[in-house]
């Protein structure tokens, strides 16, 4: 009974972490990607003086801010819930994990929130050049914050720069932590995903206006900028993501084995595009699978003849190192999250390339069916990033810190099932309500006509108050 309760509590805490993280990360990539695009629009306005760019800045700036609010709000939950739900974990890693988190606050959050406030209210208060600079600084803040939080997360995937002292992980080199391969790969991968999401949304909104034949002249340059970002970001991220796989195979071979449902060690391994069956201990051979010979070896090792370790061998190896047990993550979930991430990523890149071709040939505005595809495409990046996080975090199980601490031992021992149930319920209700409002606002504001900037007339300036 006690054991059952303990596992329920871990599951509830995991459910809460998954809910908050996935929800938070719907808004984060949009912030990371939309910010620089709005900044590009404003830079173009500053350079050319063309009013279209100013309209676009205002228009997409509003969409940016609507989402930024939820990103900030759910970010608070992210910070608090390490201590609330995972106190054993927090004590164990605080020395190491806390440092990038604190630096994130000091160096990045202050920057982004303060300068975003300056940007929102500074239109008539700052010189145009300074006002433009505040937006770029805020964008730099959002990127820095992504870097530091990913440095913290990378310690859970690939612990470096630490030693174990009195049962705690103790930081020995902050530089190793901040410059680990995992941190740098994860940062680049995340930024590219953010740029993909931001530009896909901008492009989708443009196409939605093209479909309705509204504001075509205003949105044409925006569509061009969006594709200049979207095509390289989505294509490079495909290539980059597959390279990331080679690093993962080195550091977390179990994650790769699970993501391919590869039970036995193989060389010249085939990649299965999809398979039926073969996901459980008792059913290791799929009844059907569509294979591409050699591709798995290539993706995981960089060579078509490379050896990929299987789940069974790895489990034996981990059992020898860490004591007997099951060290395999849930194979089915990992296998499919990998395919959703990579598959959706590929679809986005293809749509981007076709869009660029059609825009170049000046045909896109008349192809209604394709415009609708582009509108739908603006939702796809969020599916891919969510699947990517499931792959990253669920694929690390049973570890919370790879090889050092198990998730089942890391939750807060004193937090009761009731507390967990209440908080999970409250968060789900709150998140759903906010999502409904956010989607409604986004739809409404994405469909508006970009305002003519006649409100640009400088407001009267009353006497200073202090």
């Amino acid at each position: 009974m006690h054991l059952i309760l303990a596992s329920t509590r871990v599951d509830l805490a995991r459910g809460q972490f998954a809910t908050t993280s996935l929800y938070h990360f719907l808004f984060v990539p949009l912030t990371l990607g939309l910010g620089p695009i709005v900044a590009i629009f404003q830079t173009m306005w500053h350079r050319t003086g063309n009013e279209t760019w100013l309209r676009l800045t205002r228009f997409f700036g509003t969409l940016f801010l609507i989402n930024f609010a939820i990103g900030v709000a759910t970010g608070l939950v992210q910070e608090f819930q390490f201590g609330m739900n995972w106190s054993v974990y927090s004590r164990f890693v605080g020395n190491v994990f806390g440092a990038p988190l604190a630096i994130e606050g000091l160096a990045a959050f202050f920057l982004e929130s303060t300068f975003l406030g300056l940007w929102i209210f500074g239109w008539n208060r700052l010189s145009p050049r300074l006002h433009l600079a505040t937006l770029w600084i805020a964008v730099a803040g959002t990127w820095m914050s992504a870097y530091f939080i990913l440095a913290a997360n990378s310690f859970m995937q690939d612990p470096v720069g630490y030693k174990i002292e009195n049962g705690q992980a103790v930081l020995t080199s902050v530089w190793d932590l901040l410059s680990s391969d995992w941190t740098l790969y994860a940062f680049a991968h995340t930024i590219l995903a953010g740029l993909t999401a931001g530009s896909a949304v901008v492009f989708g909104v443009c196409c939605w206006h093209f479909v309705r034949q509204r504001n075509v002249e205003v949105f044409r340059p925006a569509a061009k900028v969006a594709l200049i970002v979207l095509v390289p970001a989505s294509c490079v991220n495909l290539w980059f993501g597959s390279h990331f796989g080679i690093l993962v195979e080195k550091l977390q071979p179990m994650k790769i084995a699970a993501s391919e449902a590869q039970w036995s060690t193989c060389s010249h391994c085939a990649f299965s595009v999809f398979q039926i069956g073969g996901f459980t201990e008792s059913d290791q051979t799929p009844t059907y699978s569509l294979d591409i010979p050699g591709l798995l070896s290539y993706l995981a090792t960089g060579s078509f003849s490379g050896t990929v370790q299987g789940l069974n061998n790895l489990n034996q190896q981990y059992s020898r190192q860490h004591g007997p047990g099951n060290y395999k993550p849930p194979v089915r979930a990992i296998y499919w999250s990998m395919r959703v991430m990579a598959g959706v990523g590929t679809v986005i890149a293809l749509i981007a390339i076709v869009s660029a071709f059609l825009l170049w040939r000046r045909r896109i505005e008349r192809l209604r069916w394709f415009l609708w595809i582009a509108v739908a495409n603006s939702f796809l990046p969020f599916l891919a990033t969510s699947a990517g996080w499931v792959l990253t975090e669920v694929g690390r199980q049973p570890w919370i810190v790879q090889g050092l601490l198990k998730t089942s031992n890391a939750n807060s021992p004193n937090v009761t099932t009731t507390w967990l149930g209440i908080s999970l319920g409250v968060f789900i209700v709150l998140y759903l309500a906010l999502l409904v409002v956010d989607v409604w606002l986004m739809r409404r504001y994405a469909g508006l006509d970009p305002v003519a900037p006649d409100e640009q007339a400088p407001a009267p300036q009353p006497a200073p108050s202090f």
Partner: protein, 336 residues
């Protein structure tokens, strides 16, 4: 002074910064349902804190992050122990954060009323729970030998902590009213001054009583001498008295300096009373978490100190510059 002690002081400074800055944001929020007479005045109140509230809230985020990094055990025990209270804080802060961006996004009066109340309720609730929560660190909560909280939600509440919550709420409302007298014009400004005069005596009385109670609790339950906690307590009382005097003289600029000092000194009183412990255990005093047994190792603290020394002055500079940029009184027809 050890680095752990330095970080205890820095965390106190971060909380003080949060109380001073977000304190007037919360105060403005709490006054939202009562002060403004029309939509333009409501817009003025939102605009008065619009450019700065987000930067002000980061003081809390950094206080949380710094506690995690510098005192992992404190962070783990406090956040897992004060679970439902922190859940409440999160709900209050979330509805408040989105209200700033979303309220102005529709002209519907119903919509605007909903978000106005979200902001007011969020400000009130967060101020209340922080008052209760921080004072509970000193009053003591049930902690086992592992530092894990063993009580229920209700163990956080007692006469002292509830009084602290009430003090924080009323003092922030006062602080916010004084702030509004500096940032608004016309009728609203006059009404803000009236509100400040109404709130001045209760806020100062509560603050003074809270400062004295805190010293008593420190002596009684945290094995402290009257000195040094009495020092910031006296200064806090002095600041509160000055704030009352300035408000009634109509010298609201000086009053604002006094309420800011008062907010900071109340935090200073609490943290001075807490030291060298960070969380007092009410079950067995020996289980209390202290600055030395809850802190991170030397190297982590060195890294954090270097970052803080390099970054914090710059943060203060640009946040200060923000206040300079938005020094003009608001008119209510900007962004909101």
């Amino acid at each position: 002074m050890s680095l752990a002690e330095l970080w205890f002081i820095l965390i106190a400074v971060l909380w003080a910064g949060y109380f001073v800055l977000e304190g007037f944001d919360f105060g403005v929020g709490m006054l939202l349902p009562f002060l403004p007479k029309d939509e333009q005045e409501r817009g003025m109140m939102f605009e008065s804190i619009g450019p700065v509230w987000d930067g002000n809230e980061v003081w809390l985020v950094v206080a949380g992050g710094a506690t995690f990094a510098a005192f992992p055990s404190w962070y783990a025990s406090m956040f897992s122990g004060f679970y439902l209270a922190l859940l409440l804080v999160l709900v209050f802060l979330i509805i408040r954060v989105v209200s700033f961006e979303w309220r102005a996004r529709s002209k519907s009066p119903h919509w605007r009323t909903v978000w106005l109340w979200c902001n007011a309720l969020g400000s009130f609730g967060a101020a209340l729970v922080w008052g209760v929560g921080l004072s509970a660190l000193l009053y003591g909560t049930p902690l086992d030998s592992n530092g894990d909280y063993t009580g229920t939600f209700w163990n956080l509440f007692n006469g002292y902590t509830v009084f602290a919550g009430l003090t924080v709420v009323v003092f922030f409302a006062f602080h916010g009213a004084v702030f509004l007298t500096l940032r608004t014009t016309g009728d609203l400004c006059e009404r803000a001054l009236k509100a400040a005069r109404m709130l001045a005596l209760p806020a100062a009385a509560l603050a003074a009583a809270f400062a004295i109670l805190t010293v008593i609790v420190a002596v009684d339950r945290n094995d402290k001498n009257v000195f040094p906690p009495v020092l910031p307590a006296i200064l806090a009382i002095g600041a509160a008295v000055l704030a009352v005097a300035f408000v009634f003289q109509g010298r609201t600029g000086r009053a604002f300096v006094a309420t800011s000092l008062g907010a900071a000194l109340l935090v200073a009183t609490l943290f001075t009373s807490l030291y060298p412990r960070v969380m007092v255990s009410s079950t067995d005093f020996g289980n209390s978490l202290t600055v030395s047994n809850a802190s991170s190792q030397h190297y982590t603290l060195v890294v954090m100190t270097v970052v803080a020394v390099l970054v914090l002055p710059v943060v203060l500079l640009y946040q200060g510059w923000t206040y300079h940029v938005f020094r003009h009184r608001v008119t209510g027809d900007a962004h909101y």
